[in-house]
């Protein structure tokens, strides 16, 4: 299955139409690393406008869970349901889902705008280049890094790189954002900016799944928040 499902990929997925309500739910997910059982029988269900905040100790499997939801790793049991369909064999899920983690997926050799353009081209077949370029500038501007557009990613500061990674969310039409520790290494203004983007996304009917080691009580996201706590299992 692993080999085959990527074969019959039709790249022409209609991205412009976001269904009015989105829903993602998980049934009976589990994950083991080596001998250690990170979690089992894990369930959740969120719909449009909700943000799932995954919490837990270090090593409790937060990142592993996010990678399973994003489709990088597979759960040994259970299933993931996206809009009433099995998510991981469904191309519309992969088109709708964006995953941003510690490894930012940016190339040192390329400039900020080139990095962003690659991700834009990946997700769309729209060949109107003027419109596309406009969208890139707009995304960079929104994250206040437009002045860095022609700098290579290597020259960016860590905070600027993070912002560039998040700009990716704006150039394509993703309805599910999966964010692994989105506020790490970013300054106060940057964090406020990202929170603002998240709220906007949730208001539009998007879905967010994120991990953050601290409380989100003071954050504007808190109003949309649902918590999923991963507890330490004893491993047997």
């Amino acid at each position: 299955m692993v080999l085959i499902n990527s074969v019959f990929c039709k790249t022409k997925v209609n991205l412009t139409l976001m269904p009015s309500t989105q829903a993602i739910s998980a049934k009976n997910l589990s994950c083991t690393r080596g001998d250690k059982l990170l979690f089992e029988n894990l369930n959740f269900s969120i719909v449009s406008g909700e943000c799932l905040h995954v919490t837990g100790e270090n090593g409790s499997g937060k990142t592993s869970l996010l990678r399973i939801i994003a489709g990088i790793n597979r759960s040994e049991t259970g299933e993931l349901v996206w809009n009433n369909e099995n998510a991981l064999v469904n191309l519309s899920f992969f088109a709708a889902c964006a995953y941003i983690a510690h490894k930012d997926g940016l190339k040192n050799e390329l400039t900020a705008i080139e990095n962003l353009r690659y991700y834009q081209q990946l997700e769309s077949n729209n060949s109107n280049s003027d419109q596309n370029e406009e969208a890139l500038d707009e995304a960079l501007d929104r994250l206040k890094i437009l002045q860095c557009a022609d700098l290579s990613a290597q020259q960016l500061s860590f905070g600027q790189r993070r912002r560039l990674a998040f700009a990716r969310l704006l150039v394509s039409n993703f309805s599910l954002w999966i964010l692994d520790e989105p506020f790490t290494g970013i300054d106060k203004n940057g964090r406020a900016l990202i929170e603002e983007l998240c709220v906007e996304h949730l208001e539009k009917g998007g879905v967010i799944i994120l991990t953050h080691h601290q409380s989100l009580i003071d954050s504007p996201i808190n109003a949309y928040r649902k918590e999923l706590k991963l507890s330490e299992l004893d491993g047997s």
Partner: protein, 257 residues
């Protein structure tokens, strides 16, 4: 119920049973000794006919008696590779735990068969060709096969996470099985020193029955040996893989399952 349906039901239940480590461990307890017994009987018969009964070859003298171990071992080296790759493919496609165990446990056995085929082949070559090693097509193919086995084992031991290691080794064995025929034909083209295929030649075997009989006994016997050794090693691997589970813990405490 018609016989076809019942056979199918039997096969599918067996498949599902063997797919579960616990069921495998339970069933293999009875199957393994049977394999061992069949191997002993058949190879003892083969050895008797091969060493005592078969008359000396008019060209090679008694040196041809090496072939009674060399040929079955060489066949097995390929057979094991195919089993390994098929199991690997089953594991990757249907995500069957036990299939990976078959792949991983077959590799050392197959490598040993290959090494044996090489050793006995060159020992046989010394009196016949006058040298231990010639760049003959079949010896060379065996040598490459040995490296393929080593590659699969090396990949398996390179990963710390067992599941990744199993899948990586399985994938490599599937890739290898596609390339093995190409290697075989390329090496054959490259060198045509060796005597032609004797056993499965057109128009029936050219071997006299006195030679064919022990060869057949040994070949089938070695097949059972593979099953025997495979199940023995698989039982250990299952215990290690499932050591946290209740049934293995109960087993270690002396309870039966």
């Amino acid at each position: 119920m018609n016989p076809f349906t019942s056979i199918w039901t039997f096969l599918s239940t067996t498949y599902h049973r063997l797919g579960s480590p616990r069921e495998f461990y339970r069933i293999s307890r009875y199957v393994t000794p049977v394999f061992g017994f069949l191997f002993l009987t058949l190879s003892a018969l083969g050895a008797y006919f091969g060493l005592f009964v078969a008359p000396a070859d008019y060209q090679q003298g008694d040196a041809f008696r090496i072939l009674f171990v060399h040929v079955p071992v060489a066949w097995m080296s390929l057979f094991v590779y195919v089993v390994m790759a098929v199991a690997g493919a089953i594991g990757l496609i249907w995500r069957m735990k036990m299939a990976f165990v078959v792949t991983i446990c077959s590799a050392p056995i197959g490598a040993a068969f290959t090494a044996l085929a090489l050793l006995t082949g060159s020992i046989w070559g010394k009196p016949i060709w006058g040298t231990y090693w010639v760049w003959d097509a079949r010896l060379t193919s065996e040598l490459i096969l040995l490296f393929l086995y080593f590659g699969i084992m090396a990949v398996y031991y390179a990963f710390e996470e067992r599941k990744t290691a199993e899948k990586a080794a399985a994938l490599l064995s599937v890739v290898g099985v596609v390339i093995v025929p190409i290697i075989h034909y390329s090496v054959e083209w490259w060198s045509s020193l060796h005597q032609g295929v004797t056993v499965f030649a057109e128009g029936g075997p050219k071997m006299p029955p006195s030679m064919l009989l022990p060869l057949a006994f040994m070949a089938v016997g070695f097949m059972f040996f593979y099953g025997y050794a495979l199940f023995l090693t698989m039982r250990n691997r299952v215990l290690i893989n499932e050591r946290k589970s209740k049934w293995v813990r109960a087993l270690a405490m002396g309870e039966s399952i």
